[in-house]
């Protein structure tokens, strides 16, 4: 086995097909899309070179700022929500529920298994005001508060979206972080206990630093996923009301495929790529410092 893997030709031939598939389905479209930023047109009429026009349009497009602001706000809120709640759940599994946690883990994990569209429809019904009140408005009415058009105004629609996505994914992050927490050696925890560490002190000074690598991995995972959010928004609000909950991905999709402006759509895609890359590099850099600080 060692001999086969030591043979460069064998490695190339074994890796070749996977690399070819990756190149075909990932690299070629990415580079193609990058090239399209200098063109305008669509599949029907072909493309004309327009130089940097798409970039000046991007710079002057007021909707880009709105979409960018929504995307960043959404990514920050959801990332904090799902990682923080996920972490708290993981702590609960490890320190409170211990071996009895498997049922709770499964139940909290369950929403991530559901199709996004089904979850979107579920939340639409939960927060509905027309044609009849959903559960949330019924509960509000019970305590004497008038029904709220949750998906009809930008602010409330944002928080319904946030609640839905955090509820859907916190179980996943809980399991991810749980895997990190169970790796912390028992003797360190026991030693800390002997030294008198209790409750928050134990979490803050021992558990958090020791689980920092997995916490940062979860952060990178989460922020990149949320910056590229698409399906849950389409399912719940379709970017509305108006375009108040339209992230860059949905704006890019509409620009390319509904308005037939593939070049400008690719330029928006490039902006999103740069944003994701920038945020990932930022987290990586700080993570390297943090993790090495912990190691020392």
């Amino acid at each position: 086995m060692h001999n086969v893997l030591g043979d460069r030709r064998a490695v190339i031939i074994l890796l070749g097909p996977a690399l070819a598939v990756y190149t075909l389905v990932m690299l070629v479209p990415v580079l193609w899309s990058l090239g399209l930023t200098f063109f305008e047109g669509n599949a029907l009429f072909g493309f004309d070179a327009v130089g940097f026009e798409n970039f000046t349009t991007l710079w002057n497009d007021p909707r880009i700022l709105d979409s960018l602001w929504f995307t960043v706000r959404y990514a920050v809120v959801i990332t904090i929500g799902q990682v923080l709640l996920g972490y708290l759940l993981a702590l609960l599994y490890v320190f409170a529920l211990r071996k009895a946690s498997s049922l709770i883990r499964t139940l909290v994990f369950f929403p991530i298994v559901l199709p996004t569209v089904a979850v979107g429809l579920l939340f639409q019904q939960l927060f509905a005001i027309a044609p009849q009140n959903g559960l949330v408005n019924e509960l509000l009415n019970l305590v004497g508060i008038a029904s709220v058009d949750w998906l009809g105004s930008a602010d409330t629609a944002f928080w319904v979206l946030a609640a839905m996505d955090i509820w859907r994914s916190m179980g996943f992050y809980a399991v991810l972080l749980y895997a990190g927490l169970v790796e912390i050696p028992d003797d360190i925890i026991a030693a800390a206990r002997l030294d008198g560490a209790t409750g928050w002190q134990m979490v803050w000074r021992i558990v958090v630093p020791l689980s920092m690598p997995v916490l940062l991995a979860a952060l990178i995972f989460s922020i990149n996923g949320t910056l590229k959010v698409f399906d849950s928004i389409v399912a719940l609000t379709n970017g509305g009301p108006g375009d108040a909950t339209t992230p860059l991905t949905l704006y890019m999709f509409r620009t390319s495929f509904s308005y037939g402006e593939y070049g400008y759509g690719s330029t928006i895609a490039l902006l999103l790529t740069v944003l994701s890359l920038g945020v990932t590099l930022l987290i990586f850099r700080s993570s390297r410092r943090d993790v090495s600080g912990t190691d020392r």
Binding site: M1, D7, N42, A128, I129, G242, F257
Partner: protein, 434 residues
């Protein structure tokens, strides 16, 4: 495992690599056309049940022969995804034999310019069935698309449908002016019913009220001027129209949560008697004539054109007319078998649509005696008496301005955006298209 087996493993490597490459090429070559060469495909928006039902009924009835040669195959997509589907299939030369034209005529004109739509005037003339098209429908299509490139499976007029019983119970006369319309709405609201049922989720049922007001106040060429650049939606007289519709929303005349009301809910609100008025096209006759859906009774439904605006240049005789979301025929997919289908449709669709669905199409009904429900008959009479027709709000807009307009209709009537901002957003997209 190590040394002895290595040469054989090495010999196997090129074989494995070749298999992989072949598998890869096969995977890349698969799934070419969704058009389907051996079917009479129809790509249609999923809420357009009338055309699907009528064609299915023809395939088992008058067009059995054509269907045996080229079976009908219907594929539905949500209307919101239709434009991108059309552009993608068009770009790959994979459009099915028939496809629903986009909600924005501009996209269909693009497809026509790119040579994807069949010249129906020439084809139906050659097939000898051109006389089966109603002249009024033909001229509406030519006005909209610049040529006869879509089939008039529907021919509609639009206006306000009202619940006669609710009007009588509350002492409401049929409104003759916009002010009377708002007064009627106020009375209905007092009576505890939703005055105007509308789908804010779709948006267009609301923007059509804006164009209705514009036509009544500024005349039937008002939106053509906007398309030509002679006027702007941000001009005060156009903003006034958006404001008038926003005021209806501010008074709560659309009921609560209008942004979440979809088309079917809006129809059912009217047909269950929980709404007094419903602005809609005559394609809704299919639902009105269906006793399972219509709980208030067809005899209890009346129709009036959107009323006049006091001192306005337009008149209530100018009725918005359209050919629904019409169906175009693919030029690439046209064969003799498709021609047989088209002949059969031209000769039989009018009677099937009127007889089975109670809806009016742009095909002639022929000599057959078709029993027509009274409500449908009254719409036919209105169509016959109409001398001047108008278009809808987005008829002359591009895809981007159409989306902006329809997406922001609900925020306009819920007060999230002002009438000025609404018109400015749509105008910005119109300017960007030029």
């Amino acid at each position: 495992m190590d040394a002895p087996s290595l040469p054989r493993a090495r010999r196997l490597i090129p074989v494995a690599a070749s298999v992989s490459v072949i598998a890869l090429l096969a995977a890349c070559a698969g799934g070419s056309s969704t058009g389907g060469d051996n079917t009479f495909g129809l790509l249609v928006n999923d809420d357009n049940q009338i055309v699907q039902d009528a064609l299915t009924s023809l395939s088992a009835g008058a067009c059995t022969e054509a269907n045996e040669a080229l079976p009908l195959e219907i594929e539905t997509v949500p209307q919101s995804g239709l434009d991108q589907q059309l552009q993608l299939l068009g770009g790959q030369d994979a459009l099915p034999a028939q496809f629903a034209a986009s909600g924005s005529p501009a996209v269909t004109k693009d497809l026509d310019e790119a040579g994807h739509t069949l010249d129906l005037e020439a084809t139906l003339t050659e097939l000898g069935v051109i006389d089966d098209i109603e002249p009024a429908a033909l001229s509406t299509i030519e006005n909209l698309y610049g040529g006869f490139i879509v089939l008039p499976y529907q021919f509609n007029i639009e206006g306000v449908w009202y619940n006669k019983q609710l009007f009588a119970d509350n002492g409401i006369e049929v409104p003759q002016t916009w002010d009377e319309l708002t007064e009627a709405a106020a009375l209905l609201q007092e009576a505890g019913v939703t005055p105007l049922s509308a789908s804010g989720e779709q948006g267009w049922p609301i923007t059509r009220l804006i164009s209705g007001y514009v036509y009544r106040s500024l005349g039937p060429d008002a939106l053509e001027k906007v398309a030509d650049g002679g006027a702007k939606l941000t001009d005060p007289e156009y903003v006034e129209a958006a404001q008038a519709v926003a005021d209806l929303g501010a008074s709560g005349y659309f009921g609560q949560g209008v942004g979440s009301i979809d088309y079917d809910t809006a129809v059912s609100q009217f047909l269950t008697g929980s709404a007094g008025m419903f602005y809609m096209g005559s394609w809704a006759l299919g639902a009105f004539n269906d006793p399972a859906q219509n709980q208030i009774g067809a005899e209890n439904i009346g129709f009036f054109p959107l009323p006049e605006v006091a001192g306005g240049a337009g008149s209530a005789d100018q009725v918005p007319a359209n050919v629904g979301l019409p169906i175009a025929v693919s030029a690439e997919a046209y064969t003799d078998e498709t021609g047989a289908w088209l002949s059969c449709i031209a000769e039989n669709y009018g009677a099937t649509s009127l007889g089975d669905q109670g809806t009016i199409s742009g095909f002639t009904v022929g000599d057959e005696a078709v029993e027509v429900p009274a409500l449908t008959q009254s719409v036919q009479d209105t169509i016959a008496a109409t001398t001047e027709t108008t278009l809808w709000f987005e008829a002359l807009f591009g895809a981007k301005a159409t989306t902006t307009s329809q997406q922001n209709a609900a925020p306009l009537v819920s007060g999230s955006i002002s009438a000025e901002d609404f018109m400015a957003m749509v105008q910005a997209d119109l300017d960007a298209d030029k």
